[in-house]
Each structure stands twice: as structure tokens, then as C-alpha cells.
């Protein structure tokens, strides 16, 4: 049992830190959920990519550094500690790219990944529908066979980043009337500016268009944009849901850096006699450390060749609730000023409130923990 990093990993850390010190914008970029901020974050992706820092865990041929999961964790610790911007390409990098590595063709990887790495193409996810949320497999948007490809027909919603993104990926029903709802689904990529696509941005709690509805009216998608076999989309989408992705959706580095900032706020602002707030600051410090060590333990298992499956549900509930508690503590430390919409904590607070809802609600995650880790019987949801 050993928490010390190898010399090679420490050298990598030093290289990342030096680059970030020289490049991280001195003034935070505008919110990436605005047109201006989206453009600024896209430019930052290009700057990262120019020196091969945008996708360190990818193979070198696609712009990465072939970093294993421990080295990726080291990078993330440095990235967030340096105060670097949020990642506008996160959906593509953490959801679509792992699927392409496992189930895509060489042609798809060569075509999609380099422009994802530079931010030239930003990807949105298109999973949910008005009547298919937690019960995603009940989705009804269709992919109808046509010459050389498919016509997409239906409605997607809560599509993160879609207001400003270029392309999207999601599941569509290609075979109606299958015995089970998760059969007959196909995983497709499509252009958000293609004829037949209407994007209606949706304002999140603070009004910023962080997600969108997508209306699809016979949108043509060529066969080359199907990932995996037609009809096998559910398996393709779920294959990466519980594995490395579960470890890498939210990196510990992000929360370690946030806890550091919170301690700074506590020192600057706190009433030393307020032990209730002091305890909450301590819990934020402890929680970030717990999440870091939990992730290192699972990364070690992963490197040993073990699969990390339903354990990623533990991780998702933990970080999403932790993130809210941390930001609530920050707002309470700010006192009445915490109500303002433009403090350095406001954006993170609003973002954190969505955490227990997206990427599988925490209720679904608790069902998975109970049924697959604890062995409790299935029941009505």
C-alpha cells in the first residue's frame, strides 16, 4: 500500500504545472453557458490542444499523451489547482470518446477525435426525451432507415451544451416493437446545424442557456455516423457508463481545489466563534481528501486489471452531494452577500445543484448500489 507517485508521474506533474502557470488566464473566463463564454472556452481548448494538454489520457495519435488513469488524476490535480477554466468539451471527452475507443471504427476515431481534442467541434449529449428521463430505455425518438443512412425524427431535451455546440450524440429507436424497451436502439452522431434540426435553448435556474430542446424532423445521418451495430445502441451506451468513465466524470482535483478556495474564504471571512461553519469547512476538506483517496484506490484496482462497475454509482452520489454542500458552505460564509448572482461562487453553486440530477439521478444510482452492490431484490421503481 503506497500513495507515493513514481518519479515519472512527478516529472509529468511538474511539466503540467509549468505549462499551466504560463498559460492559465489571469482573469476567469466568462460563464461557458453564454455565447461569449462558450467562444472563450472553445479558444482555451485550442490553446490546451496546441501543446497536447487537452486530452492527456488519449493515445498520442489523437492528440493525447497516453496517460494512464493515475497520471490523468495527477494532471487534473494540477489543472484545477491552477484555477484553469471549466472544460466546454467535457461531454465529448468523457462520454463520446470512450465509446468511440471501445465501439467506434478507426475511420470514426480519425474523423471525430482530433477536432474534439482542439475544441473545433464541441459535442452535446442527446439522451433524455420529454417522456424518457430516468427510464431512458423508454425513449421514442426514431431512426428510420433510408438510402445510405438514417432519418432522425422526434424530440430530445435537457441536452447540455446544445445551445452553442456543433454536434450531438444519442440513442434513437431504430426498431419499434421489440420485446424489451432497451432493444432496437441505435447510437448515432449528428450535426446540430443539419437541415431538420431545431435547437431551442432552455435557461437553467439562473437563466443561462446551459441546455436545450432538440426538435428533429427527418434529419439525415449517414451510416458512417452509427456507433456499433444498429439495434445494439443500449449496450454500446452502457458499456462505458460504469467503467473508467465513472471514475473520470468528475476528477478529485476539481474538489481539492474548491476545498482549498473554501478554506481561503473561511480564513478571510469567518467569525472564529462560529463553530458550526467551521465544522462544515472541515467536512469540505475531509470530503475532498476522501474522494481523492477513494479514486486512487479504484484507479489502483483498475490498473490491476479489475473492472470498476457499479462502484461508480457510489462515486456519483458522493461527489454530487459533496459539491452542493461545499458551495452552500461558501455562500453561508459570504453571509448576506452570498445572495448575489455574481460572486466567485455563484456559477459553481448553480452548476452544483444539477449534479444529483444529471448522469443518472442519485435515486437511480442508489437503486444500482442497493441491487448490484448490496444484492437487494429488484422492486418497483
Amino acid at each position: 500500500m503506497d500513495l507515493a507517485h513514481s518519479r515519472a508521474d512527478e516529472a509529468f506533474r511538474a511539466e503540467a504545472r509549468a505549462w499551466l502557470d504560463a498559460h492559465v488566464p489571469a482573469v476567469p473566463l466568462p460563464s461557458l453557458e453564454t455565447a461569449e463564454g462558450f467562444a472563450a472556452h472553445r479558444a482555451w481548448e485550442a490553446e490546451l490542444a496546441a501543446d497536447r494538454w487537452s486530452v492527456v489520457s488519449w493515445p498520442e495519435e489523437y492528440g493525447g499523451r497516453a496517460a494512464d488513469v493515475v497520471r490523468w488524476l495527477v494532471f487534473e490535480e494540477e489543472y484545477w489547482s491552477a484555477g484553469a477554466p471549466g472544460r466546454v468539451s467535457q461531454n465529448g471527452i468523457s462520454l463520446l470518446a470512450p465509446t468511440l475507443f471501445d465501439h467506434g471504427t478507426a475511420e470514426q476515431r480519425a474523423r471525430v477525435l482530433p477536432s474534439m481534442a482542439t475544441g473545433e467541434v464541441v459535442w452535446a449529449q442527446a439522451w433524455s426525451e420529454p417522456e424518457a428521463g430516468s427510464d431512458l430505455a423508454s425513449l421514442t425518438s426514431r431512426a428510420v432507415r433510408t438510402d445510405g443512412g438514417w432519418l432522425l425524427r422526434g424530440q430530445k431535451t435537457w441536452s447540455s451544451r446544445a445551445a452553442f455546440a456543433d454536434r450531438a450524440f444519442g440513442l434513437f429507436r431504430s426498431e419499434p416493437d421489440t420485446p424489451k424497451p432497451h432493444q432496437g436502439l441505435t447510437y448515432l452522431m449528428f450535426d446540430l446545424r443539419a437541415p431538420g434540426v431545431t435547437v431551442r435553448p432552455i435557461g437553467r435556474l439562473d437563466g443561462k442557456p446551459a441546455f436545450a430542446e432538440l426538435f428533429l424532423d427527418d434529419v439525415f445521418v449517414p451510416d458512417t455516423d452509427v456507433i456499433g451495430e444498429p439495434g445494439a445502441g443500449w449496450r454500446v451506451a452502457m458499456a462505458t457508463a460504469g467503467n473508467e468513465r465513472g471514475l473520470t466524470l468528475r476528477s478529485p482535483g476539481r474538489f481539492l481545489a474548491a476545498a482549498d478556495r473554501l478554506v481561503g474564504l473561511w480564513r478571510d471571512r469567518a467569525d472564529p466563534s462560529d463553530t458550526a461553519l467551521r465544522d462544515r469547512v472541515a467536512d469540505a476538506v475531509i470530503g475532498a481528501r476522501a474522494y481523492q483517496l477513494f479514486t486512487y484506490a479504484h484507479a489502483s484496482r483498475f490498473l490491476d486489471g479489475e473492472s470498476v462497475g457499479p462502484e461508480s454509482s457510489l462515486n456519483k452520489v458522493f461527489w454530487s452531494e459533496y459539491d452542493i454542500a461545499l458551495h452552500e458552505t461558501a455562500l453561508d460564509l459570504l453571509g448576506p452577500a452570498g445572495e448575489q448572482a455574481d460572486t466567485e461562487w455563484s456559477e459553481g453553486f448553480v452548476f452544483s445543484l444539477a449534479g444529483p440530477i444529471y448522469a443518472g439521478t442519485n435515486e437511480i444510482q442508489r437503486d444500482i448500489i442497493a441491487e448490484r452492490l448490496l444484492g437487494l431484490p429488484k422492486g418497483r421503481r
Binding site: L3, D279, V285, R289, A290, A297, D304, K378
Partner: protein, 340 residues
């Protein structure tokens, strides 16, 4: 970087688990609570033979340590089986004597702790008012004072004399004696204060590990119960309200575990305090869910669940309250506290 127990450490845990499973610890705990210490002493000897106490002592004093990771591994199992006795106190007492080195009383006292002959209770500044199981411990170690005025006194059970009636704990297997005021002066001065601070960390680490094991046992027993117990024609474990409480317990325990082993690797006061508060809160959260999901049977003394339920509550404030541990975590950060 390989933050996993190795094969040998896992085998050690499995062998302790097997040994304690066959020892029928619930019966041992009930005997201990009623003042019959024989069965508990027999388990104590087996733990010594398995090398548990040797982990806290250096080779110079017939130990194999100090190996805090091994202590953490062992104490998770001790908690899972609700083993009674001054376990954390004995290990921390060994660490205290070891820290005092050759000049101190280690050579005289440590080998008997390692061999299991000397069950030890311990009172330290900052560690709570009671000498756990003082009516049965063979060796009483007490540190008074701080800094240059710190001194370590020790006495045998016979010499410690009556320390007043032992107070009963919410955990009937914990017998709370008042520390003896007399005893032989074994050492004094700032090195005693330093050694006591280190011993406090060992006691906290061992308690954290024990609490994690207690929480695991509570979760395992409750999962078994809700799978078997049928109401409305289905196992109650199929209901979401039940599932989600147990999922939350599992999350709390799973995130306490890496803090425990991280603390065992670093042994810094802040890391140990973080592990202590997190493991104990996780165990107590799990205890509340265990009680609720068992229903009325869980609220009885005769049902074995009570042995873990009450221990979870007692460990929460033993060797560092939640507030003390959280304060220690913040003291461990570089830089000062609030300015205003």
C-alpha cells in the same frame, strides 16, 4: 502509487475474521458485559498469538512494528466482530511506550503487552476522562500534564486499587473506570508529552478502524434482514425507501475506508482525525439505519444487533469527539485560522 491492501494484508484480515467467527463473539461480549472476563481473555490471547499487538511495538521489544496499516486492517475485523476490551488503549499504550524509547519503561512493560499478558488501559490528555475496562486491565497507564510538566504513571491492576465504581457505558461491553491517581512515575518531561500526542493518534486510528468494522457489520446484518423479512408479500429490501438508506450507509462506509488507510500511511494528526470523524459518523449513520430497518427487534437488548448499535454510539466520542477531530483537520492545514 498502489493504494490497495496487498495479498498478505488481505490474508491477515481473512484469518482474523475466520478466527473471530469461530469464537462466537456475541456470547463473549455478553459475558464481558456481565463481568465474566474469561472468554474475553481467551480471545485476547488468540489476538496476541495472531500478532495483533505486535504490530504496535518495534522489534526491539518483541514486536514487528510499528505497522499502522496492519493495525487498521486488524481493527476493522475487531469492530466487525464487536470484540470487547481495551483494544485501542492497549495498542496506543504500546505506541506510547515505544515512542519513549530505550530511556523509558518500554523494555520492562512492552513485551508483556505484545504477548497478550498485559491488557492495558490508557488515559491521555485530550483523550477522554475514563480508563476503559480499568477493572480488568492488567496495566494502567496515565499521562498527566503537558509540555515539560507531563508525566507518565503506571500501575498494575492490583496496585491501582479501587477507582470508584465503574460507570456503565451505553455500550454494556465498555466498562468506564476513573483513572487511578497514583502509580509509579515511569517517565516525565516534554518527551512524554510528545509520546502522548503520538499515542493519541494511534488510539484514534484504531478507533476509526474499529468503527468502520462496526459499521460494516451493521450494514451486513441489516442487508441480510431486509432480504429475509417479508411484508406486503415481498421482501422489505425491495422497497426504495429501504434500499436508499442502505445505499447511503454503503456510500458513507466506502468513503471512510480510504481515509482510514491514507491516515495509516501518513499518521499525521490531521489525517488520523479526518479518518476518525468520518468512520465514526459513517458507523453511527449506519447504526441508525440498521435500527430503523430492523424495526422493534432491533431495539431489544437480547437481539445481537444491539452489541454493534451501542458500540457505534460509544466509539463516536471515544478518543476524539467529532468537533475535536474536525478542529484537528483544520489545524493541520498550512496557514492560520480566521483573522477577524
Amino acid at each position: 502509487m498502489r493504494f490497495l491492501l496487498d495479498t498478505e494484508q488481505r490474508a491477515f484480515a481473512a484469518s482474523l475474521d475466520a478466527m473471530l467467527s469461530s469464537a462466537d463473539t456475541p456470547t463473549v461480549v455478553r459475558a464481558w458485559a456481565s463481568g465474566d472476563h474469561g472468554p474475553g481473555r481467551a480471545v485476547w490471547s488468540k489476538l496476541a498469538d495472531a500478532g495483533v499487538f505486535a504490530l504496535a511495538a518495534p522489534e526491539a521489544y518483541e514486536g514487528v512494528g510499528p505497522l499502522p496499516v496492519g493495525i487498521a486492517v486488524a481493527f476493522v475485523e475487531l469492530g466487525r466482530h464487536a470484540v470487547p476490551g481495551p483494544l485501542a488503549e492497549t495498542v496506543a499504550g504500546a505506541a506510547l511506550l515505544a515512542a519513549l524509547g530505550e530511556e523509558g519503561p518500554a523494555e520492562r512493560l512492552l513485551p508483556a503487552i505484545v504477548s497478550g499478558k498485559s491488557m492495558t488501559t490508557l488515559v491521555l490528555p485530550g483523550g477522554g476522562p475514563f480508563a476503559l475496562d480499568g477493572d480488568v486491565a492488567d496495566l494502567h497507564l496515565t499521562v498527566h500534564g503537558t509540555g515539560a510538566a507531563a508525566e507518565l504513571r503506571g500501575s498494575s491492576r492490583a496496585a491501582a486499587g479501587p477507582t470508584g465504581l465503574p460507570r456503565t457505558s451505553l455500550d454494556p461491553a465498555r466498562r468506564l473506570a476513573l483513572p487511578s491517581s497514583g502509580g509509579e512515575r515511569l517517565a516525565g518531561g516534554p518527551q512524554v508529552a510528545d509520546a502522548a500526542a503520538r499515542a493519541l493518534d494511534w488510539a484514534r486510528l484504531a478507533t476509526a478502524a474499529q468503527a468502520l468494522g462496526v459499521g460494516q457489520a451493521l450494514l451486513d446484518r441489516t442487508v441480510g434482514h431486509v432480504r429475509r423479512r417479508t411484508q406486503f408479500g415481498v421482501p422489505i429490501g425491495s422497497f426504495q425507501a429501504v434500499k436508499h438508506r442502505l445505499a447511503d450507509a454503503r456510500i458513507a462506509l466506502e468513503f471512510a475506508r480510504p481515509l482510514l488507510f491514507g491516515a495509516a500511511l501518513s499518521m499525521t494528526p490531521a489525517d488520523v482525525a479526518a479518518a476518525k470523524v468520518t468512520a465514526c459518523e459513517a458507523a453511527w449513520t449506519t447504526a441508525r439505519s440498521a435500527l430503523q430497518l430492523h424495526g422493534a427487534i432491533g431495539y431489544t437488548a437480547e437481539y445481537d444487533l444491539s452489541l454493534w448499535l451501542t458500540k457505534a454510539r460509544a466509539l463516536r466520542t471515544a478518543w476524539g469527539t467529532p468537533a475535536e477531530c474536525r478542529a484537528e483537520v483544520l489545524r493541520g492545514l498550512s496557514g492560520a485560522g480566521p483573522r477577524s
